[in-house]
């Protein structure tokens, strides 16, 4: 006696439920999410548990960024995992200073990512220059991409990065950022950031 669960193709006995049975749990989750919640809430819920930062290291805070995913701090428990390609990710963590050469790479990477996408700026340099406030070679990241969360510190400890991810999750679910972005086609709570001048104009192949 058995029934096919939709899509999984696995024979599943209906009369017996084991603790930790993945198919049953999946069915219950599906009933809860799709039956009782609105689809928009599901999208927001799903986005908060899959905030994957892209492998773009802009400066020396990258050392603490790497430590955030180390066994001691383990930011993977929040559903975040640094991933290689911008096409499969939805979060940029700007680690510290953005130089004028890097601003181009930052903007291109941001534009390559699919919607909805978010930006966390990490470190004093990403806020307003930090130690390098009067350097001739840096730009402020908020002139290049729209920033959602700022983390102060030089460098911020890994706990602060994990905290920023949690704050971003709260923000997405409270303001329904992900679902409304998908429905309306643009982000409703802020203006898009366009770079003041062409950040890539120095680069001619």
């Amino acid at each position: 006696m058995g029934s096919r669960l939709g899509g999984t193709g696995v024979e599943e006995p209906v009369d017996r439920v084991y603790v930790g049975n993945i198919n049953v749990t999946a069915r219950r989750a599906r009933e809860l999410l799709l039956g009782k919640l609105k689809l928009g809430d599901v999208i927001d819920w799903a986005t908060t548990f899959s905030l994957w930062p892209v492998h773009l290291l802009t400066s020396c805070c990258g050392a603490e960024f790497a430590a955030t995913w180390s066994p001691r701090f383990d930011a993977e428990q929040y559903g975040a995992l640094p991933w290689v390609a911008p096409r499969q990710t939805n979060l940029i963590i700007i680690e510290g200073t953005v130089t004028r050469k890097m601003a181009c790479a930052l903007r291109i990477t941001y534009e390559q990512m699919p919607h909805p996408k978010f930006v966390i700026a990490m470190g004093a340099c990403a806020l307003d220059g930090g130690l390098f406030y009067n350097s001739y070679n840096i730009v402020r990241p908020w002139e290049v991409v729209p920033v959602d969360i700022y983390i102060p510190g030089c460098p911020p400890p890994p706990e602060a990065v994990a905290r920023a991810i949690i704050e971003l999750r709260r923000k997405i679910r409270e303001k329904k950022l992900a679902s409304r972005w998908l429905v309306e086609g643009w982000r409703h709570d802020r203006e898009p950031v366009k770079p003041v001048d062409d950040v890539c104009k120095w680069w001619r192949p």
Partner: protein, 414 residues
């Protein structure tokens, strides 16, 4: 000359200009691949490689993505302020990177730190060296797709970061030394913690050997890859563990002992093979030697008491600062320290970082700021490896070579 300004991609631009656009002829069979600055490993640089099939014909490192103009900013800041500024080059190795700068200032000012301060500096430097090598291993693991190595190395690195935090108060950016001494004395219970960390790390290194260094997959990927012969290493002027893996016995701690390295017992591991695997092994052996030095330094510090700043500096402190220093071992700086003047002159100082030799050239005109600070970091000198060693290898050997020379872009770009 004008023509080459506009291009960043290739060596000689042979092409003609068509309305603001450069049209370049590429030979038909060659692919041009841009690796970075956003790439699967980690690191903030671009390597432009030209491929024939999957054999690299030409590689051109395009660095400067993290150039934060530290040499210029040092010229407009008072003598002490470049110390926190310059350690941002390599915050994972922050003690070693600023020590030669402080040594250069001490040469100009004719100051000598008390022996206890020297031992504390050496202690922190070796803790940093272990942490730096472990960071290198972790990133190497990411490059090779060996996640276990990343997890293990970064987990064990936290032990040494924690030690440094107990000693100095900061995880990474210690700003520990000031001209003539250090900022803080060692806490009472530090020696026990250090010995426990050393014991733990010795045991872990054995497990690293089993899972990473003698792992058949890793050995196949690293053995015979990126071979740098003895003469080529000297010709390219590369530094650190990379040059010692090529059979050259060069370590600043040995050649020109600074601080108290001439009183300590340690060996300089040298390998002859010169390939990526040998470079990895050098780092492991160096961690072992650093652990020995940590033990020796801690033993010495337990047996000898003393001051951590020179006598004349101590006497200049006001009463309140003296009390803080007596009670907690912390040195609170005077405003006079920040506006100090350094006698005119030139000094060259070098030191051995985790990644290799760092050299400072400091020039003073007698004012409150440096006239010129020139710093050449190990990664800046290792960048040349990409141009002259990588061609001839397959594309998938590039991550192995990149990881094995332990290149850290913020350090190279300053």
């Amino acid at each position: 000359m004008k023509e080459s300004h506009t291009g960043t991609s290739s060596g000689v631009l042979e092409g003609r200009r068509v309305e603001g656009m450069v049209v370049r002829r590429i030979e038909r069979e060659l692919y041009e691949v841009f690796i970075g600055p956003q790439h699967p490993g980690s690191g903030h640089m671009r390597i432009i490689v030209r491929l024939d099939g999957d054999i690299i014909v030409e590689a051109d490192p395009d660095i400067g993505y993290v150039h934060r103009t530290m040499e210029k900013l040092s010229e407009v800041r008072e003598w002490l302020k470049p110390i926190p500024l310059l350690e941002r080059m390599t915050i994972i190795d922050a003690c070693n990177v600023t020590l030669p700068y402080v040594n250069a200032l001490e040469k100009l000012m004719d100051k000598k730190p008390p022996p206890r301060a020297s031992y504390l500096r050496v202690l922190l430097c070796e803790i940093n060296r272990v942490a730096s090598h472990l960071y290198g291993f972790g990133i190497f693991g990411v490059f090779l797709g060996h996640s276990t190595m990343y997890m293990w190395a970064f987990g064990d690195r936290e032990v040494f970061v924690e030690l440094a935090e107990i000693l100095t108060g900061a995880r990474l950016t210690h700003t520990y030394h000031i001209p003539g001494g250090v900022r803080r004395d060692m806490p009472q219970d530090f020696p026990q913690m250090a010995r426990r960390a050393v014991r733990y790390m010795r045991r872990r290194l054995e497990e690293y050997r089993k899972i990473f260094l003698e792992n058949p997959v890793i050995v196949k990927r690293l053995e015979g890859v990126g071979v740098i012969s003895r003469n080529l290493a000297a010709d390219l002027g590369i530094v650190g563990p990379n040059v010692r893996a090529s059979g050259i016995r060069y370590d600043v701690r040995l050649v020109e002992p600074y601080e108290v390295y001439d009183e300590l017992e340690f060996e300089v591991p040298v390998f002859e093979e010169g390939d990526a695997l040998a470079r990895t092994w050098v780092r492991v052996e160096e961690i072992k030697q650093s652990l020995n030095i940590i033990e020796q330094a801690v033993d010495w510090l337990e047996r000898h008491k003393g001051e951590v700043i020179p006598k004349e500096d101590y006497e200049r402190l006001p009463k309140l600062h003296k009390e803080v220093y007596e009670k907690t071992g912390r040195v609170k700086l005077l405003p006079a320290h920040a506006t100090m003047k350094v006698p005119a002159g030139k000094a060259v100082a070098r030191g051995e970082m985790g990644r290799g030799e760092i050299i400072y050239y400091v020039e003073s005109d007698g004012g409150t700021t440096p006239y010129r600070v020139r710093v050449v970091t190990p990664s800046a000198r290792n960048a040349i490896v990409f141009k002259y060693v990588v061609p001839g290898h397959r594309l998938m050997d590039l991550p192995a070579i990149y990881g094995s020379i332990d290149y850290f872009p913020p350090e190279a770009d300053r």
